[in-house]
């Protein structure tokens, strides 16, 4: 389809001019219909479009506060990437709506999931003990790690005992949280990502930008460039099928050679000691079933009491994430294969602390579906890497500061507070309320920039006195009418950034009411 075939709505406004209509590249079903079950439909950028370098993420400087706004501005300045990102995630969000509306009991499922998680978290000590006992009875070695460093050391010990030098890994945000890959590189263990998106990110030396779609911020041109540089593919071939196949062919030998496999965990079942992983590529099954040594990293908040509860969560997870009824693979690892060892590492890394934070502990219910990110206007327009943290988007705004209050102090301000994240959350976390609660905490602890503090102090003074407020509004309205553009759209007025200021009315409603109604009211 050429740009000439597009409707005016597709060429103007909604679609970026360099982005064309849905392509015909995805797989087809038995009836010949285009399939869209795994992830979002794509609107590829025209091959003859000028190349636009991929904007890089936030600059992380030790413990210094992340400047999310600065990174977001660079993402916005890359219109092809920004548009493609926004539209692809919005497409997933729409598919989530269709899937959710297809189940009459959707709201009941959300409520049940929320209550099951609340119950489990408030009895987590008991469920962890039950899980441990069940896993041990199944012949599994269970380890406990207080933090990321503990986790990495435990896994390294296991690998050393087996003389293992290489490890294939299935996507796990927990290991990202622990800095696992970098730690293992320093100890001369080869870690190979098996999820395509995560592999792209590994080869490009970037962190994942989304919990479900790690490379969603990249265009096919970016992937072609990374693969040409690292896998030796043809730099001029950006066909998605060619690129995916190249990755399959180059990763498989590494999977076959690997000494150990490690997977993350979507759910851990206390009753049976089972670890459940949900993937579309089957990469957790390759990691768990091919190498002679099997390790599972489990965040302690992943516990659920019984197998029957999976019936609630599995029905919610992929529908919330990508709009598909289930992931291609839902895998239940309970015991070792004959002749092999299976290890499970239960990782705290701040979770037990968070349980004691009155306003924030329910964020532990998160099942990492990414629905809040896909719906968030700030996330869609700034890209996940702009947050400079393992977890981005709305859920990141509330859990990142629990890991490091200074480094992530700016994140709770990267929100429009529209509440959409809360509305789509399958476990009913009150995300936008927790974002607001963080703002209060950070303001009280003076952890916000001086400029913002000054503005908030001034706003507080004006808003608390009606007369001052009315005077300010009148001044601002007159100023907007008469001031030249350069005076309104300058760095001092953050409200003028990326948006047009509203047209100021001749008269405020309050002034109009005083003039017309209050007098008449007195007459009546």
């Amino acid at each position: 389809m050429s740009a000439d075939d597009l409707t005016p709505r597709q060429t103007e406004g909604v679609l970026h001019p360099e982005v064309r209509a849905p392509s015909d590249e995805s797989e087809r079903g038995p009836g010949g219909e285009r399939l869209q079950h795994a992830e979002a439909a794509s609107k590829p950028i025209r091959a003859d479009a000028p190349r636009e370098p991929q904007p890089r993420g936030a600059k992380v400087r030790g413990n210094r506060p992340i400047d999310q706004a600065e990174a977001a501005e660079r993402f916005l300045a890359a219109p092809m990437h920004q548009k493609a990102h926004d539209e692809r995630l919005w497409d997933v969000r729409r598919k989530r709506d269709v899937a959710a509306h297809g189940i009459p009991e959707w709201e009941e499922l959300r409520e049940l999931a929320s209550q099951i998680k609340t119950h489990t978290l408030t009895h987590l000590d008991r469920y962890l003990e039950q899980f441990e006992a069940a896993a041990q009875a199944n012949g599994v070695h269970v380890h406990w790690a207080e933090d990321g460093a503990d986790h990495n050391r435990i896994v390294l010990d296991i690998l050393r005992k087996h003389g293992a030098k290489s490890l294939v890994k299935s996507k796990s945000m927990l290991t990202e949280e622990c800095g696992f890959r970098h730690f293992m590189a320093a100890h001369e263990i080869d870690v190979i990502e098996t999820d395509l998106g995560e592999r792209i990110q590994q080869l490009d030396d970037e962190e994942p930008s989304h919990v479900v779609m790690p490379a969603v911020h990249k265009t096919r041109l970016d992937v072609a460039e990374v693969f040409a540089r690292t896998l030796g593919t043809d730099p001029d071939n950006d066909d998605a099928h060619y690129l995916a196949e190249s990755q399959r062919e180059t990763t498989r030998p590494l999977i076959l050679k690997a000494d150990a496999g490690l997977t993350g965990c979507n759910f851990a079942i206390a009753e049976t000691g089972t670890v459940v992983t949900c993937t579309n590529e089957g990469n957790a099954d390759l990691s768990g079933n091919v190498p002679p040594l099997q390790i599972h990293s489990i965040g302690i908040e992943k516990l659920i009491p019984r197998v029957e509860h999976l019936g609630v969560f599995i029905r919610l997870l992929s529908r919330s994430a990508l709009g598909s009824p289930i992931t291609q693979y839902t895998s239940h690892f309970r015991g070792p294969r004959p002749g092999t060892e299976m290890h499970m590492v239960l990782v705290d890394n701040g979770r037990s602390e968070r349980l004691g934070m009155e306003e924030f502990w329910t964020s532990l219910k998160c099942i990492r579906c990414g629905a809040c990110m896909n719906t968030c206007p700030v996330y869609r327009r700034s890209g996940g890497l702009s947050y400079g943290a393992t977890y981005s988007g709305p859920i990141g705004l509330i859990i990142d500061p629990t890991f490091n209050k200074r480094k992530y102090s700016t994140l709770p301000f990267s929100s429009t507070m529209n509440g959409s994240c809360t509305n789509v959350c399958p476990v009913k976390i009150n995300i936008h309320e927790q974002i607001f609660a963080w703002r209060k905490v950070l303001a009280e602890e003076h952890r916000i920039p001086l400029l913002k503090q000054g503005m908030m102090k001034a706003a507080g003074a004006v808003l608390s006195r009606p007369a001052a407020y009315r005077a300010a509004i009148q001044t601002a309205d007159s100023a907007l009418r008469v001031l030249p553009r350069f005076a309104v759209y300058n760095p001092a007025n953050t409200w003028g950034k990326k948006r047009e200021m509203p047209h100021a009315p001749r008269q405020s409603f309050h002034a109009w009411y005083r003039e017309n109604r209050m007098k008449k009211g007195q007459d009546a």
Binding site: D125, L128, W144, R220, T272, P292, P325, R334, G356, W361
Partner: protein
């Protein structure tokens, strides 16, 4: 204090106040109609898998014959079909890397999602379901359950060392959302509806 004791102690100390009972999960009415075979077929199709009805009793494998004829290495985990790679003789999972087609029987199917379940006993070598290029799955139409909830009532999940629901072939859309089959695992999954052989009395 060990990490275990530290974590458990912190969880007890930080336990939020309040009574949060475990809710009962009601049995939800099925999303699918009465014709479970039709529902299963449609839903698996949407997830990229295919369903075929078995051929005549003399050649039940006729609908997948072209796939089998095009394969050099066939590993069968079912008595109905003999391949040329003996899964029982496999010592290391990596040995099944050259398998073109694997034939296995599903324990049950799920109409709501178009999924099939395997355990380690059904696969014999778990890795064959991922390292093979194509998968042919035998499923008895009588073994199709109505929904995911019903699936999780089955005892298999508490008994098997490994149990997995497959819903179509390996898929990815990590490059600009283009859906691609055969991301890492099998490139295609075909379910052949074929009655289970009655166990000899």
């Amino acid at each position: 204090m060990s990490a275990r004791e530290t974590i458990l102690a912190r969880l007890r100390a930080n336990r939020p106040a309040g009574d949060f009972p475990l809710p009962d999960v009601p049995r939800f009415p099925p999303l699918v109609g009465d014709d479970l075979v039709a529902e299963f077929t449609e839903r698996l199709g949407k997830m990229g898998g295919r369903v075929e009805r078995a051929g005549s009793p003399s050649d039940p494998f006729a609908p997948v014959r072209s796939r089998l004829d095009g394969a050099a290495v066939i590993a069968s985990a079912v008595p109905e079909f003999s391949g040329n790679r003996d899964l029982a003789a496999v010592a290391m999972p990596t040995e099944v890397n050259d398998v073109d087609v694997a034939v296995v029987r599903a324990r049950f199917g799920v109409a709501e999602t178009g999924s099939v379940l395997f355990t380690q006993d059904d696969l014999i070598v778990n890795a064959v379901a991922y390292l093979a290029q194509h998968l042919i799955v035998l499923l008895d139409p009588a073994d199709i359950l109505v929904n995911v909830q019903a699936a999780y009532k089955r005892p298999d999940f508490g008994q098997a060392a490994y149990a997995v629901l497959h819903t179509g072939p390996s898929a990815t859309a990590d490059i600009e959302g283009v859906l691609i089959h055969g991301a890492q695992g099998v490139r295609s999954l075909t379910v052949l509806l074929l009655q289970r052989k009655k166990q000899a009395a």
